[in-house]
């Protein structure tokens, strides 16, 4: 069993990473990665939703019939998202101001539903929870990485405004990498989103090749 959990962690973080391997949840990956901070915030909120919704779905799946399973999963995910949305708005308002707009979009992120279908609807509660959690963390890491690259190249900063998201103790993260006004604007515009995601995939592929693994040419959508 321990081995199994280790696999869940490994899958989530690297081997079956939501963005890099399954290529799900692409919308926030593009839209929310104009800076590392945005990527991190979006990722964390998603991770929370995924962990809780996977947990609930695994726990309740005995009551769900085949025909209405998708609406029910979505209902659960949407409820979790709304819950997060309302609570952050009420109790962590500073954070809400940074993330606020992005939160409802988690609902339609393919990744939580994908995990619900593939994992939580078949596996026990604890593994499902962990799967959601680590998939979410893997997602967060990818988003932060893409955000960091785009931010550095596009604006010359790294983790700008991190203190707004994480609190003042994280002010030290905010760095300026390049002199002001030297960024390549394209990186933070739509083409940059696609480009850097593509480059990150190439990066992962290079690491995989170094590790002696075969190149996987297809994403989650190809059987």
């Amino acid at each position: 069993m321990a081995n199994n959990y280790r696999q869940i962690v490994k899958d989530g973080l690297w081997e079956n990473n939501g963005v890099l391997c399954q290529m799900l949840g692409m919308c926030p990956t593009m839209a929310m990665t104009t800076s590392a901070t945005n990527g991190l915030g979006m990722g964390l909120a998603t991770a929370f939703v995924m962990a809780t919704s996977n947990l609930l779905i695994a726990a309740l799946r005995g009551f769900i019939t085949q025909e209405v399973r998708i609406p029910v999963y979505i209902l659960i995910i949407a409820s979790m998202v709304t819950l997060v949305d309302l609570s952050i708005n009420a109790y962590m308002h500073e954070l809400y101001k940074v993330l606020g707009l992005f939160i409802p979009l988690i609902v339609s992120n393919c990744l939580p539903l994908g995990r619900a279908e593939v994992f939580a609807s078949r596996e026990p509660v604890l593994p499902s929870f962990l799967d959601g959690l680590f998939m979410g963390i893997g997602f967060t890491l990818s988003l932060t990485a893409i955000g960091a690259c785009r931010e550095i190249v596009g604006s010359g900063t790294l983790f700008a405004d991190a203190s707004l998201l994480l609190g003042h103790s994280f002010k030290f993260l905010e760095t300026r990498v390049l002199p002001a006004d030297t960024g390549i604007l394209m990186a933070v515009l739509p083409p940059g989103g696609f480009l850097f995601t593509g480059l990150l995939l190439v990066g992962k592929r290079i690491l995989d090749i170094r590790a002696g693994k075969p190149i996987v040419l297809a994403g989650a959508h190809s059987v």
Binding site: M23, M30, P71, L75, L105, S108, C110, A218
Partner: protein, 193 residues
Amino acid sequence: MQELILLVVGTALVNNVVLARFLGLCSFMGVTTKIDTAVGLGMATTFVMTVSSMIAWGVETFLLVPHDLAYLRTVTFILVIAAVVQFTESVVRKVSPSLFRTLGIYLPLITTNCAVLGIPLLNVHDKFNFIQSMLNGFGAALGFSMILAIFAGLRERLALAAVPRLFMGPPIGFITASLLALAFMGFSGIHTN
């Protein structure tokens, strides 16, 4: 009339769901290896998006606003969409098994196509009336289908190209999408309102 046409053109081209608004990217990357499949999914999405835009408008206007239930917006909208999708799925499965086979695993994904949720939410944000909502949904779906077809064409071409192994598959797909987005930047600055 002219405004409505502009609305459709604007959402289809200038604020293209995929390239400018970053919605519906999973299908965009996933279902575009063949032109025919892409067109099929485009049509299915167009149907779902238009219908759910209309129903969502009804839910918003007659349920959420009068009773101050804005916080239920996400939940109710997504329920509507999920139902429309699953209904479509059942129908397609019956009517065209071959279409179902090619689209089968993607139909449920329409539910989580951000664009399908995003457009009704944007309609609310932009305070569109019924006709506008419907046309906005239709225009967005049109833009979505168009991009899907274009991208599928590009990818069919890439499948025959001598792409280096390091870039083969998804990476070259993203880079191509990046160049496509670059081309669509040309429309930026067109004001349709």
